[in-house]
């Protein structure tokens, strides 16, 4: 049986194309029609849904990084500067 090489991807965009648009989608900067196609693809493609989930989890992980400690020498120098500034 001949294989149909022209099966259109869901939403008319390929997984490769969808991956490149993920940040635009999350930033809500896709145009209405493209967003509709993006979501149509997502609904039909487990792989892309998984990828989107991973990207969201990545952003959540970035947002939960605790603040970096201020090195003790930097802290001391900046506090000195603050005290000097106050006395002026």
């Amino acid at each position: 049986m001949a294989i149909d090489r022209t099966v259109p991807p869901p939403g008319g965009i390929s997984c490769r194309e969808l991956v490149a648009l993920v940040t635009e989608y999350l930033e809500e900067s896709l145009s209405g029609p493209l967003r509709t196609r993006f979501e149509a693809h997502l609904a039909a493609c487990e792989g892309c849904a998984g990828y989107l989930d991973q990207m969201r989890a990545t952003v959540v992980a970035l947002g939960r990084l605790p603040p970096e400690d201020l090195p003790a020498d930097v802290r001391a120098r900046l506090l000195d500067a603050f005290r000097t500034w106050q006395r002026r």
Partner: protein
């Protein structure tokens, strides 16, 4: 712990004007409140260093620029009118100083370097594997990414995951690093980052995308390596 979307960010503000919290902080600084000062220094120091490193020739110079910036901020507090948020005001002072310092060191980083990772040829999806073999549509996954739900969430606070994310950030090109730190770690809005780093909306988004792709890749390798 669930990965709610969008992530909650305490202070998603537009570039201006200053918030009530900013006004209170400025008042505390003017009154000489050391705790308030150390809190704001601690909150911004690491990102200020990364932004300064976009322009300064060395990390040592960048550190000097950051310290000089705090002095300039204190000296300028009386003139802060709250037309912009306090943090975009602080970072505008930082960027001006870092640029001037970079020029003086005669190793000025051309503005175009802020576009690193924006050029074509390093497309975001390049690291992923797609198949064009017949049987289904072209450009589809070779193997499906699987949701991390429950695999990452409960581990987000673990030191190993945090170290993985931090190492991935440090390995990024400087402009991608500055953008992802301000946007995703510090929770700045896109307009604030565009204003501070003098980027177009499109370039800011491309830098953010490239950076997120690389951090996701690092997390994937960590998770798959278990």
């Amino acid at each position: 712990m669930s990965s709610s979307w969008p992530p909650t960010v305490a202070d998603t503000v537009a570039p201006g004007p200053a918030s009530t919290a900013d006004a209170e902080l400025v008042g505390a600084l003017r009154a000489g409140d050391e705790d308030a000062y150390l809190a704001i220094v601690g909150r911004h120091h690491a990102s200020m260093l990364r932004v300064a490193m976009l322009f300064a020739p060395t990390r040592a110079v960048a550190e000097e620029v950051v310290q000089d910036t705090w002095l300039a901020v204190l000296d300028g507090l009386h003139a802060f009118e709250g037309r912009s948020s306090l943090r975009t005001w602080i970072f505008s002072i930082l960027v001006n100083r870092a640029r001037r310092r970079g020029e003086r060191e005669a190793r000025s980083v051309p503005l175009s370097s802020l576009q690193d990772g924006v050029e074509p040829g390093t497309a975001a999806g390049d690291a992923e594997r797609f198949s064009d073999e017949p049987s289904s549509w072209a450009g589809r996954w070779v193997s499906h990414p699987r949701p991390w739900a429950g695999r990452v969430d409960e581990r987000l606070l673990m030191a190993e995951v945090q170290a993985t994310v931090r190492a991935a950030i440090e390995g990024l090109p400087p402009a991608q690093r500055a953008v992802i730190v301000l946007r995703d770690v510090q929770g700045w809005t896109a307009p604030e980052v565009c204003l501070t780093l003098d980027l177009t909306d499109g370039n800011q988004r491309v830098l953010l995308h490239r950076a997120r792709v690389r951090v996701r890749r690092a997390l994937l390798e960590y998770i798959d390596g278990d």
